[in-house]
Structure formats: structure tokens, C-alpha cells
Subunit: 210 residues, 4 copies
């Protein structure tokens, strides 16, 4: 009669599980409605735990949203990696493709993050700080990759190129959000990759000219 079911330690394990359920619910709502639009009552209803239980797992709403950002940033970082072969232009295009797909796969991170970035309420939310930190990390990773693909740029030029690369991605993401029928995101990211490559080439030629 070997009892294979082991309901022991359920509560202990359920703690982590509950936390995850709360984060799932909060992610979904926050991506839809932003910081202020995400009410604890809404999250509570969606994850089917009383509001007071949410406060067992998170200090307050800010803490909760920050945890949402943290978790979704991790999964976003996992989603893209540098392609290893082909010409420089092809590899830049390949990278852009990765990012485009990551954006389409898990848009919550960017959507919520951009909303937080745009908000400027007097008391800086921890959640906002967390997004900006995540974005800085992205910029560092991108700098490394582009440095390898298009060597010879000055530090300033590199920084500008990375800023422009990220800006284009953000902007295209928004364009897709505003009217997802009119925009072929993959196609547009391809155009962005080409533009980036052309820009790099132009900058290099300027360096040579001087």
C-alpha cells in the first residue's frame, strides 16, 4: 500500500506557489493598465487570494510592481542571444530579429517598463528604478555585442549607436502597440537593423576621413 501521494509540507510549498500566482496576476494587469491602474483588489480577484495575503508576500504595492519588473526582465534577458555567424550586416539583422521576437513573445516587460519610465510622479517608485536599471543592463550587453560587430567606433559614437538602437526598438514596439495591424514588426526591425548598420558605416567613414 505504498502511498505515493505526499500532501506533506503542502503549506510550506504553497507559499512560493502563491507568490507566483500573485506575480502572474499582477504582471498581466500591470501590463494592461500601468502602475496606478493596477489595484490590489484587481490582483486579488485575478489570483484568487485575499488582498491581505498579497501583503504577506509583498511589503506594499510598489514592492509588488518592482517584483513584477524584476521577474519579467529576467525572462526577457533569457529570450535573446547573439547570432554567431554570417557577415556583420547579417549578424546585426539576426540580433534585431531576436529582439523583435522577444518583444512579441513577452511584451509585458517593455510595455509596463515604458509606462513607468514615462511617469514622473514626485516620489520615485522603486519599480521605476528597477526598470531603468534593467534597461541599463540591456545597454551594456548591447554595447558589447555591437562593439564586436562594428569595431573602430569611438566610445561616444558607440554610446550614441546603442542609444539609437534601443530608441528604435522602443519606438517600433510602441508603433506596434498603437496599431498592431498596420505594422509588421519583424519587417520593421529588419529596416532598423539596416539603418543601424548604415549608420555605423557612415560613422566609421567619418572617422577615416578625419
Amino acid at each position: 500500500m505504498a502511498n505515493t501521494v505526499q500532501p506533506k509540507r503542502r503549506k510550506r510549498v504553497d507559499g512560493e506557489l502563491s507568490r507566483e500566482r500573485i506575480l502572474d496576476a499582477a504582471s498581466e494587469i500591470a501590463a494592461e493598465r500601468g502602475y496606478e491602474g493596477t489595484s490590489i483588489a484587481l490582483v486579488s480577484a485575478k489570483c484568487d487570494l485575499p488582498a491581505s495575503s498579497i501583503y504577506w508576500h509583498f511589503k506594499n504595492k510598489d514592492d509588488l510592481i518592482a517584483a513584477v519588473i524584476e521577474r519579467s526582465f529576467a525572462s526577457w534577458l533569457r529570450a535573446w542571444e547573439v547570432p554567431g555567424d554570417g557577415t556583420a550586416r547579417e549578424r546585426v539583422q539576426g540580433l534585431a530579429m531576436q529582439i523583435a521576437k522577444a518583444l512579441l513573445d513577452s511584451p509585458d516587460f517593455i510595455r509596463l517598463g515604458l509606462m513607468l519610465a514615462l511617469e514622473r510622479r514626485p516620489i520615485e517608485a522603486r519599480a521605476r528604478a528597477m526598470f531603468i536599471q534593467a534597461r541599463t543592463q540591456t545597454a551594456v550587453a548591447l554595447t558589447e555585442t555591437l562593439s564586436e560587430l562594428t569595431p573602430g567606433l569611438t566610445e561616444t559614437q558607440m554610446r550614441q549607436l546603442v542609444t539609437y538602437a534601443i530608441a528604435g526598438a522602443d519606438g517600433l514596439f510602441i508603433a506596434n502597440e498603437v496599431d498592431d495591424q498596420a505594422v509588421d514588426l519583424i519587417e520593421m526591425f529588419n529596416m532598423h537593423a539596416n539603418a543601424l548598420y548604415s549608420t555605423a558605416v557612415r560613422l566609421l567613414s567619418e572617422n577615416a576621413g578625419q
Copy 2:
């Protein structure tokens, strides 16, 4: 006809003035905190008029925010116009410069608009619709201008180019918002203009190649 006192128009004028004060306050707050973060009480405190007076001038909160968008869009449209001379590349650069400066001068329109665009709350707000309409108008104007500057593109290519142009502008605006010290917006818009021009040239050469 020397009667300088005009008590008849007095009330009307005061009314307009109050309306303007409300819009000023609402603009500032909405640009800082988004739709949900803009409470009537906050607006009331900032413009020093009772909340009930706001409801005399505007049907409800949605109507107020929509009016904010409407007014700031008008001033934004007024701020840029196509430069008339020079080479095509120079004129694209000139246009980019206009837009960059308009963004720096009255950033509220874009900031609030982007926030609204990113939000996806179930019931579409009139304010969001108004921003998207304003943006469509911008796209139309941009299409006209770019058609003139880089003729020969197919309609699809043109639409893509305009989408990319706007996306870049949005993205650079956000980059500037996130860290306004690290980004020289004018410089970056110049880079964007060059990238746009290069893209147009590439597309044209592809057309010729086919």
C-alpha cells in the same frame, strides 16, 4: 465709442480664463502621472478652483484629459514646419531638427500621449482615441513631406518609412526622458535623419534593382 468698460463680456472672459487655468494644471499633472494618476482633487488644488468648478467646464475626467490632448496637439503641430531649401538630405535633417525642438519645447503632449497609447484598459478612453487621431494626422503630414523629399518609393515603402521615422522620434524622446543627461536629443535626431535618408536611398536602389 470711448466706453472702455465692458462688463458684458466680463463673465465670458473669466470663464475662458478659468478653463485655461484648469487645462494648464491638468496638463502638468497628466504629463507627470498619466491618466489614472491625474485626480480631479490634484488638478483642483493646482489651479486653485474647487472640484465642482472643473465639472462645470468639463463633462468628466475623460473629457478633461481629452481636452488636454487636443490643446497640446494643436500647439505641437504649430511648432514644426517643413524647411524649404537645400538638398534632400539637408531638408530631412532640417525637418528632424524642427521635430526635436518641438519635443523639447512641449514634451507634455508626447509624454502623456505615449502613456495613453501604452495603456490597454478595457474601456477605451476618449483621451486615448484623441491622441491616436492626432498621431495619424502627424503621419499624414509626414508622408506628404517625405514623398516630396524622396520621391519614387512605393506606397508600402513610404508607410514603412514614416512608421520608422515616428518610431525613432518616440524612442529618442523616451531615451531623453529616462536619462536626459546622457542624451543629446538634437544630435540624436540628426543621426535619425541620416538613417532615414540612408534607408530611403537603399529602398530606392532596391526598386531600381528589381
Copy 3:
């Protein structure tokens, strides 16, 4: 058909009336249960106005309790006045009688005030400050009166005498609260008056002896 009923401007007048109703309810509850025990819901139920209406009249709970203190202090001050004739001892006794009766008539001020005075929560409540200020005013008034009745005391002695006078009153009030059947407050205040007078005489004789 001269209509003598004038329901006009009712709402405007009701504002003051509502404020008074709220203060009445809050006074009663706060005197019974102290600062923390006075919940807005309780006050709301007792004055039959929704909680949100209380916030129209008072900024927050602290503001409300402070207003309670303020109002009850005013009525308390009105309740006692210095008796004008008789020997010094008789006049001190007469004054004590006034205060004893004032305490019995409107005990809320003292009860709530003492509770606030005893509390030492980190963030000082405005209500507590208000009580302490009221009490200082009482001390000043008492100093004037006693100076006239028992002249010749040094400033330090006077201050001590006043402190002792108030302390005795506070203590007797508490004794009456703890067990109002065992204590005849009037009788006890008479004893207090005699003790005060004896103390003054003793101090004066010490002064003379030096």
C-alpha cells in the same frame, strides 16, 4: 401669500451644522476610547454622515481630534472664573470648587487630553500639541490668580505651586474616573485647596525665616 418659510441657503448653513455634529460625535467617542480607539467609522455612524463627508470638514483624523480638543478647551475655560470676595483661604477654596464643577460638567476635555498627554507615539499628534498648549494657558491663568491671592512667593515657588495645583486636580479627576463611587470630588477638591493654602503659607514663612 407671503411665504414665511425660507428653505433657501439651507445647504450653506448645514455645513456648519454638519461640522458641529461631527465634532459632537467625535468628542463623545474620543473621550471614551482615546485617540486610537476613535475610528472614523465609529464617528460616521454616530453623527450619521458618511465617512467621506467627515473628510470634507477635516483634513484627517488628527485634525479632527485636534478640533475636538480645541472646542472642548474653549468651553472648559468658559466654565470657571475667580471668586471675588472672602479671605484668601476662602477664595482659594472657591476657585477649587469652580474647577471641580467644571471637571464634572465637561470631563471630556480632561479625559481625552490626559490620554493624549500620556501617549508618546513617535510622530507627535497635532491633537496632543493642542492639549499641551491649552494646559499651558490654564497654568498662566492660574498663576495670575494665585499671585493675587498669595502674594510674596518667588517666581520658582509660584511655578511649583501652580504645578502642584494642576497635578492635584488631574490626579483627583483620575481618582474619580477610576472609581467614581468612592470619591466625593467636591470634598476632595476642598482638601486640595486647603493643602495648597497651607503650602503657600509654609513657603511664605520659609521666605520670612531666611
Copy 4:
């Protein structure tokens, strides 16, 4: 018998220690914020034990506060004892000194107790009852002592004198709480002792006069 390890008593000892830590934390908080202001969460944070552990040691919040009163009353009683020699006036003064010092040494008992005594919430708390019982015990002890020091008073006079003695002590304690810089508690208790003695003498002479 050289076994120095005693794991059997270990749990018991730890338990007592936890209980003590909880009581320490609760005492401090309750003396600062009163009954309602003392939340289990606050106590839990201060003693660094989970809230559920507090409920292992105490039935509920009321039980906890009652235990606080009980413990602090014991230490308070331990702190004063009747001086054995000198004139009656000197011995009364000596006793007053003891009490003044006990008040300064462990003020928590009185502060919390007075707060409870002043509160009149509908459902009598066990904690309040415990304080009143403690206070009755003090009155009995004081009656014994004063009977010995000033014999010849009627029972009623004695009860009044004891009531007045305690009232003065309470009042002076409060004066010291409200503004501890302006009040020299030792000096004031000396004044109180003299006043008590004078009162006793006056009462005795009245008895003789009748």
C-alpha cells in the same frame, strides 16, 4: 553527575526567554502608545519573533497586555518600602521620595495603567481590571503605612488622605510626562509630602476641636 549538558531543560528555558522578550517589547510599545496603539505586528517586529509565536505564549492581545501590567506592577511594588526612623513628617517625606524614585525608575507601569484607567471602552478589558486591582493593593499598603504614621484619623479621613496621596502622585507623574524639563519630580514629591502631612495635622486638630 558531571554532565554539564542539559538538553532536557533547553526548550523550557528558550520558551521562558521568548516569553520575556515578548513582554519586554510589549511593555515598551504599550507604554508609548496605549492599548489600541499596541499592535501584535509592532510587538512582533520589536522582539523579532513571528506574530504566531506571540499567540503561542499568550491567549490574545488582552492577555498579553494584562501580563505586561502584572509584571510591571510586581517590579513597581518591589521598588518602594517604608522608611523606619525619624519624625512622622520625615518618614512621610521619606516614603514620598521612595515613590518618586520608583516612578522615575519604571514609569511604564503607571503610564500604561493611567491610560487604561482613563479609557472607557464598552467592553472592559482584562488589562484595565488588572491595573485597577494593582492600584487597590497600593492603596491598602499606603493606608497601613499612613495609619501608623498619623494615628487618630477616622476611617473616612484616612481613605480621603490616601486618595489624595495617590492623586497627587498621579498628577505629578503626568506633569513630569507632559514637560519633564520644567518639573523637578523629587522636589515636587517633597512638597506633596509636606502638604499631606499638613492635611493630616489639620484633620486631627479638627477631630480634637469637635
